[in-house]
């Protein structure tokens, strides 16, 4: 057989394998998302409570509007209102709890069933979180509509460019937050109480993400340092885009990419070592 024909056949085979791989990935994604969506909508009351439990930005909005009416701040009371409803929206679609799930699976040995299948367990966890976004969507939209009904002067519509970009960045923020928490979850292989690490890191998330206060009200030095950490990109960055506050899009995306690569590498390293520690307790 001529060399160029062999090369052609090899290329055909590799193309077919890629296509089959993509088809398999699509089928798995479809099955995981549809089943986990069904699982998430099984308990409707729980979903409403989950959506309401993310109301911290709405509470803080009242505090900051009051403060802005009496003091000098970088944002006006109306901008504060819009920022916090945007932060509430972003938080609704980027909330992650995988570390609690993963820790329970390790401690109770339930991870064993996932390890027996030829699919990395991370995809089960990611799909269940992603499907939950769709399940909570109607409730989140209802709460936002209720807010604007009660406070109509705060209503605004972002430009379509900002709206689309905010949607993409909210998804990236969710993916980064998921990856950060999943990496910390790997410590469950050693400590069995990895959630304690998450509780500690939540302190930084709370202050630096813009959930309690927009970064505009931080002292410049603190803001400059915060912008090199991943936290502001989880809430403040997409929320600012949605409201129309000035953001450095290129730098934001680069910092998010850098942290994503770092956390992915760390996760893979801990995963490989963690599996050697796994004892399949209780199973």
């Amino acid at each position: 057989m001529k060399p160029h024909r062999i090369q052609q056949q090899t290329s055909d085979l590799s193309g077919r394998a890629t296509l089959m791989g993509l088809q398999r990935a699509r089928r798995i994604a479809h099955a995981l998302l549809s089943v986990y969506y069904a699982y998430m909508v099984e308990y409707r009351a729980e979903l409403v409570l989950w959506a309401l439990s993310g109301s911290l930005p709405i509470i803080l909005m009242g505090v900051w509007i009051q403060a802005a009416q009496t003091g000098q701040f970088a944002l006006s009371p109306l901008e504060f209102a819009r920022y916090f409803i945007a932060a509430f929206t972003v938080r609704q679609f980027s909330v992650v709890w995988v570390i609690w799930e993963f820790e329970r699976e390790v401690v109770e040995g339930k991870l064993s069933f996932r390890l027996l299948q030829p699919l990395n367990p991370i995809w089960h966890h990611f799909a269940s979180h992603f499907a939950e976004r769709f399940a909570r969507l109607p409730f989140a939209v209802f709460l936002i509509a209720l807010f604007f009904g009660l406070y109509p002067q705060a209503f605004w519509l972002p430009s379509w460019e900002n709206g689309v970009m905010a949607l993409i960045i909210t998804f990236l923020a969710f993916a980064l937050r998921f990856l950060m928490q999943y990496t910390l979850a790997m410590f469950a292989f050693w400590t069995e109480r990895a959630t304690a690490i998450e509780q500690f890191s939540f302190l930084f998330y709370l202050f630096l993400s813009g959930l309690i206060a927009p970064l505009e009200v931080f002292p410049p030095a603190v803001r400059a340092i915060a912008l090199w950490t991943p936290f502001p990109y989880l809430i403040h960055f997409p929320a600012s885009l949605l409201v129309g506050l000035p953001v450095d899009l290129g730098r934001g995306l680069l910092v998010m990419l850098g942290w994503s690569i770092l956390f992915w590498g760390l996760y893979r390293w801990l995963w490989r070592r963690g599996l050697r520690q796994y004892s399949g307790m209780g199973a």
Binding site: S34, V35, L115, L116, Q117, L119
Partner: protein, 327 residues
């Protein structure tokens, strides 16, 4: 060539030791002490394709730890294992496609959804088409008698139905090797029988290899011509079920019907008295002394009837699991 090959497999893991009381708690907080548990020690055996092998041992003997090592869930501390030509702990996709592990006390099905939803995920993960899924669910569902149950939420199924649905989920990808860890635990007698029948039929239809642990001896006697016995982490027996009786219970049971009752103290002179009630008595007599003892019983006692049998297998296995060494 053996489909499962295990050579000097060992697993040692540390367990924190805590003394009771406040002082023990404070010491445990500041300076934790660990004790090395040798869960499995130098276990070696081979299993040929298509065999059904019973894996026996008391609680904590090392059965489940061995199964976890053979399925790649945990990493061995020493020794080698090969399953279907793969090193289990590498957890290669090709290996995972060939095996399954059923844990009677754990479930993989999503509790709040119908079993069919979990089966759809399994089918996608194992690369089964919709048609193959439908065909296998139909085939296995029929063998298990599960028709109509797969669309009900798992939490609404009875324990027996749930276990059968778990088996279906575990076997959907038609694995060559089945690791079954107490698959009939907690089931009523009818459900136990039907699970047993299913496993036998599955083994015959697909030539699957089965390594089965169970505390129900009926599972072992009905399914396993060969057994492995593990005691305190070490393999103490590998052979046929009948051989187990010969090796661990080299004695026979002698039942006598006497003309009149005798005191137990007098009967004890002929063997280990298992039961004595009225004119009936039952002894265990060492095999080498059987002829002589039966002769003495017939000569010295007024016997109406006498029968010699092997002791019940359950009794022998119970003694083996308790003692761990040949009597």
């Amino acid at each position: 060539m053996a489909i499962i090959s295990v050579h000097n497999l060992s697993k040692v893991y540390p367990v924190a030791i805590k003394e009771p009381g406040l002082a023990g708690t404070l010491r445990h907080f500041w300076q934790r002490r660990y004790h090395q548990i040798r869960a499995v020690q130098d276990v070696s055996f081979n299993i040929e394709a298509g065999e059904i092998v019973g894996f026996l041992g008391a609680n904590g003997a090392g059965k489940t730890t061995t199964l976890k090592m053979l399925t790649g869930l945990i990493h061995p501390s020493g020794g080698q294992a090969q399953v279907a030509g793969h090193i289990p702990f590498q957890r290669k996709a090709a290996f995972l496609q060939k095996i399954t592990l059923v844990m009677g006390q754990k479930q993989q099905l999503i509790w709040d959804l119908p079993a069919m939803d979990s089966l759809r995920i399994n089918a996608a993960v194992y690369g089964l088409s919709d048609r193959a899924l439908e065909q296998r669910v139909g085939e296995l569902g029929e063998m298990l008698g599960l028709s109509g149950k797969l669309l009900q939420p798992v939490r609404k199924l009875s324990l027996g139905e749930r276990m059968k649905a778990e088996l279906l989920a575990a076997l959907l990808h038609q694995p060559q090797i089945l690791f079954l860890d107490e698959p009939t635990i907690g089931l009523d007698v009818n459900a136990q029988v039907s699970v047993r029948e299913f496993l036998r039929e599955y083994n015959q239809r697909y030539q699957a290899t089965v390594l089965l642990t169970s505390h129900y001896m009926a599972d072992i006697t009905a399914l396993c011509p060969r057994v492995l016995v593990i005691h305190q982490g070490s393999l103490i027996y590998d052979g046929s079920l009948e051989g187990l009786v010969d090796q661990f219970a080299p004695c026979r049971e002698v039942k006598v019907e006497l003309a009149s009752p005798y005191p137990v103290a007098k009967l004890a002179a002929y063997g280990d008295v298992q039961a004595a009630e009225g004119r009936s008595a039952r002894f265990l007599v060492p095999q080498e002394a059987l002829t002589q003892t039966v002769g003495r019983i017939l000569a010295e006692l007024e016997v109406l009837d006498l029968a010699v049998t092997e002791p019940p297998i359950e009794q022998v296995i119970g003694q083996v699991l308790q003692g761990g060494t040949p009597r």
